[in-house]
Amino acid sequence: MERIVKKIWIGKIEDFPVSLGKAVKIENRDLAVFHLSNGQIKAIENKCPHRGGVLSEGIVSSEFVFCPLHDWKINVSDGQVQAPDKGCVQTFQTLIKDQQVYIEVPIS
């Protein structure tokens, strides 16, 4: 299925503190945006598949975030929940250009 996305500006790179997450609301979507220590910006849906925990407040270690509610470990690049738990969250493409951060969201 062809997917139509739009690119949305969400802020300057310094708006995203390093090794932490940030809750970003785009229209009716809740996203968790992470500024990893390697400089990359990653975005996933801000809701743990387990009990709906706010992932943007989790501890971030390299490309994983640990849900603050029950410590589920989720890969922020591919959205996969790590063993022994199972599941996944939606991921979103991000783009950094001239220190500006953009995110691609599907047009609903």
Partner: protein, 797 residues
């Protein structure tokens, strides 16, 4: 700085100093007095020097530079002649005076010289130190014939050395077989046969009664009337602990300087370690026990948690080439013991295992000593015969022995190298062979008895399916335990979580939600002033200073010292609750008011409008001090529990601890604030405060133990501070006081906290930790960057 003086620059004393430096580097002002004009050397390798396999310089353990690097003031060739325990001073033969806060006596022992006529003649020597060794080497040039009195380990090693130096050697032994203390007759006779083949002449069952000669020895005379001609006499009949100095200072002395399980002598702040010591009526002349004692003593002096010294089970091996002898534990047979023996007269191998009440208590091996390490491990554990026999069914057993050993267990007794140190070296330095381990760690470099275990460790560590279950690691990111990581941070002076993970070879790049908060805590605990707390290594509650709820909102608990509030504050709370649509207002278990259902973005405004400090209801920190009404109103109250509680809460407010700490203060034994299930529970009685610690009313119900009874409020504060600091320094992250006290034992906690000097030091370190406290809500409100980074969301239209 506290002044630490060590008398005796030998293996036991310096090992203790090394252990202390690992625990508290730069904490003590250290002075060492040593009789010998050398830096610390490996005394047990002297026989190798005599045998010509090793140079003197190769047995130095700590070079001069080491003393300098650690700011240790060393007086080599200077003997302490007097201890003034009252004024805490020592005096030397060169007229020096040195004051001490802690004194370690490690004066070692001297060879026992038989009190027989002629024993003072020229050419009679012991075999103890470098000068004895040098004398023998020198005299072997001029003289031809040596006699060693004593057929034990030291005597036989000396005899072998003298043979190597080209001398004819006679060995005289009182007993009717060799190494009588370690072997039985069968093994002793096999040994004798081999050593005779190597060239020694034995005179067993023979008592020496006189040394003959004018100025210099020319012969020895035996009780049976026989004499032999000789140019050199080496007395190796035993050692005698050097106790004179301690005795003259008025310390309790028996055969050795008497110490308890904490290596304390009869006098406060004076400790003893090594061969000069008598513990539980036993003295030791081998090196492994000295290291075990040194470890305990270091922890004791540093006020760290330890189980005390319980005595040592020893094993020995003869350092003579071509001879394989091993002995461990109790080898004498009695009517109560049973033995298993395997004797192969043809191949000259012998094995005896001594059993008492169905358990292994000792063993002798001759000819083939490969099984020695395994047997020693079983004997130390007092394993049952069934377990031992079952081990033969399982071919992997060799692996499991080292696997089940704890990390601090010594593998190489000669050089005091622990399993942990070897495993660490294998991993960190990428070692793959026994040689590499020897060079890197010194393990297996002396007697070689532990070679098998070192090889097993290599296999175990490098094998694909390596997993070490004998300890609890912090998390899957590391093979190190909490205790080991803390030790490494102290020793290597690590200051950042990233640095810890790098230097200690973390398996993950940036750790995980378990180790990062733990490391952040440990670093802050160890470097209270200099460490900058890492907000990204904090769990959300401690990062945002509010409690996250299941729906992503937060709860706010304002500080309310001692659970006491007033109308004005209550009004303010009510106004804020209304304005921010608080979902629920509830009393907490710790007598505070909880405002639930607040949005993250609203937190800073809520705090600003409340104008109260954070109640810390979310942190691994001192939480609340619950109080009863107390003497002010209650008809039963005997003390001002509210006032005491407020003082405690104000003092320890915001203190980071391994896990949450809840306190309670009651004013009578009815204990309405439930101090029996608090981490610290204070109960006021008439004129007395009782302090209870280690209680828990949650997951692991545990009744608190009485720590101490004191009279004044200042004492309550100071003992509580000492306890909490001891807990902070010694507990694992996320270990509650209940588990901690259970683990180390209340007696140990008491021992530390009751010791005035230790209590004083703990209080100082606590004050330092408290000095950096900043009220977190104010701090957040006033910092625009914090507000933006942590509390603001981004909303795009």
């Amino acid at each position: 700085m506290k002044k630490l003086v060590l008398i005796g620059n030998g293996m036991a004393g310096i090992r203790t100093i090394e252990e202390i430096l690992k625990l508290l580097p730069d904490y003590f002002d250290i002075t060492v007095f040593g009789k010998e004009p050398y830096p610390n050397y490996n005394r047990i390798q002297l026989s190798k020097v005599l045998q010509g396999n090793t140079e003197l310089k190769d047995i130095t353990l700590n070079e001069w530079q080491w003393y300098e690097d650690h700011n240790i003031l060393l007086y080599p060739g200077e003997t302490v002649v007097k201890i003034d325990k009252k004024r805490q001073l020592v005096y030397t033969d060169k007229g020096k005076e040195a004051p001490f806060d802690h004194l370690i006596i490690a004066t070692g022992s001297t060879p026992f010289i038989l009190p027989i006529p002629g024993a003072d003649k020229e050419g009679v020597t012991g075999f103890r130190d470098i000068s004895d060794c040098e004398r023998m080497i020198k005299e072997s040039d001029k003289y031809r014939h040596a006699t060693v009195i004593g057929g034990g380990i030291l005597g036989l090693e000396a005899a072998r050395g003298l043979l190597n130096l080209g001398m004819d050697v006679d060995v005289v032994e009182l007993s009717d077989y060799l190494m009588e203390a370690q072997l039985d007759r069968t093994a002793g006779e096999l040994l004798q046969e081999e050593l005779e083949r190597q060239g020694m002449q034995f005179h067993l069952n023979t008592q020496t009664v006189e040394v003959l000669g004018n100025e210099r020895v020319t012969g020895v005379k035996f009780k049976n009337g026989n004499t032999i001609a000789t140019d050199l006499v080496v007395m190796a009949v035993g050692i005698r602990p050097n106790v004179t100095l301690a005795q003259e200072a008025g310390l309790v002395v028996n055969r050795g300087i008497v110490v308890n399980d904490y290596m304390e002598t009869s006098s406060a702040n004076i400790y003893a370690v090594g061969e000069c010591v008598e513990h539980n009526e036993r003295t030791y002349g081998l090196v492994a026990p000295l290291y075990e004692q040194g470890q305990v003593l270091a922890k004791q002096i540093c006020g760290m948690n330890h189980q005390g010294y319980k005595g040592s089970i020893v094993s020995t091996q003869l350092k003579v080439s071509g001879v394989d002898v091993f002995s461990a534990g109790v080898i004498k047979e009695t009517p109560e013991t049973k033995v298993m023996k395997v004797f192969d007269e043809w191949q000259k191998t012998y094995k005896k295992i001594v059993i008492h009440n169905g358990r292994l208590i000792g063993a002798v091996l001759y000819g083939d000593t490969k099984e020695g390490t395994k047997l020693f491990s079983y004997i130390k554990k007092q394993a049952s015969v069934e377990d031992y026999l079952a081990s033969w069914q399982n071919t992997d057993e060799e692996e499991s022995i080292v696997a089940t050993m704890s990390d601090d267990e010594i593998i190489c007794g000669c050089n005091g190298v622990s399993k942990g140190a070897i495993v660490k070296a294998i991993k960190e330095d990428g070692l793959t062979s026994l040689e590499e381990v020897k060079n890197s760690t010194n393990a297996a470099r002396s007697c070689g008895q532990c070679k098998g275990m070192v090889t097993d460790l290599l296999e175990l560590t490098l094998g694909d399916d390596y997993s070490d279950n004998s300890k609890e690691t912090i998390c899957g990111c590391t093979d190190l335990s909490h205790e080991e990581v803390v030790a490494e941070i102290r020793q290597k002076g690590l200051t950042l979580t990233k640095e810890v993970m790098n230097v200690l070879d973390w398996k993950t790049e940036e750790g995980c939600s378990k180790c990062r908060p733990a490391l952040n805590y440990y670093l802050g605990m160890i470097h209270p002033v200099d460490y900058k707390d890492e907000r990204e290594s904090r769990f959300v509650n401690e990062r945002l200073h509010a409690n996250i709820q299941k729906d992503g909102t937060y709860s706010v608990v304002p500080r309310m010292y001692g659970g006491v509030t007033n109308a004005k504050d209550l009004r303010k709370i009510a106004d804020v609750a209304e304005k921010y649509n608080v979902g629920m207002i509830k009393m907490t278990g710790g007598q505070r008011i909880d405002l639930l259902g607040i949005k993250k973005e609203d937190l800073p405004n809520v705090w600003k409008e409340l104008g109260m400090p954070s109640g810390y209801a979310y942190g691994k920190s001192v939480r609340t001090v619950k109080t009863c009404v107390g003497a002010q109103f209650c008809r039963f109250g005997t003390q001002d529990s509210v006032g005491m509680g407020i003082q405690l809460e104000k003092k320890f407010e915001g203190l980071n601890t391994p896990h949450k700490v809840k306190m309670g203060v009651s004013a009578c034994p009815r204990n309405c604030s439930e101090g029996s299930v608090k981490d610290v529970g204070v109960v006021g009685l008439d004129g007395v405060w009782e302090i209870y610690v280690g209680g828990n009313g949650g997951t692991d119900l545990r009744q608190a133990d009485l720590l101490v009874r004191v009279k004044t409020e200042e004492e309550v504060l100071s003992y509580t501070a000492a306890f909490l600091q001891y807990y902070r320094e010694n507990a694992s992250y996320l270990e509650r006081t209940s588990k901690f006290v259970e683990r180390v034992g209340i007696e140990q906690v008491q021992k530390v906290v009751m010791n005035e000097a230790l209590r004083h030091d703990l209080n100082q370190r606590m004050d330092q930790a408290l000095s950096v406290y900043k009220e977190p809500w104010d701090e957040a409100i006033e910092n625009q960057k914090t507000l933006k980074d942590l509390y603001q969301n981004i909303t795009m239209k």
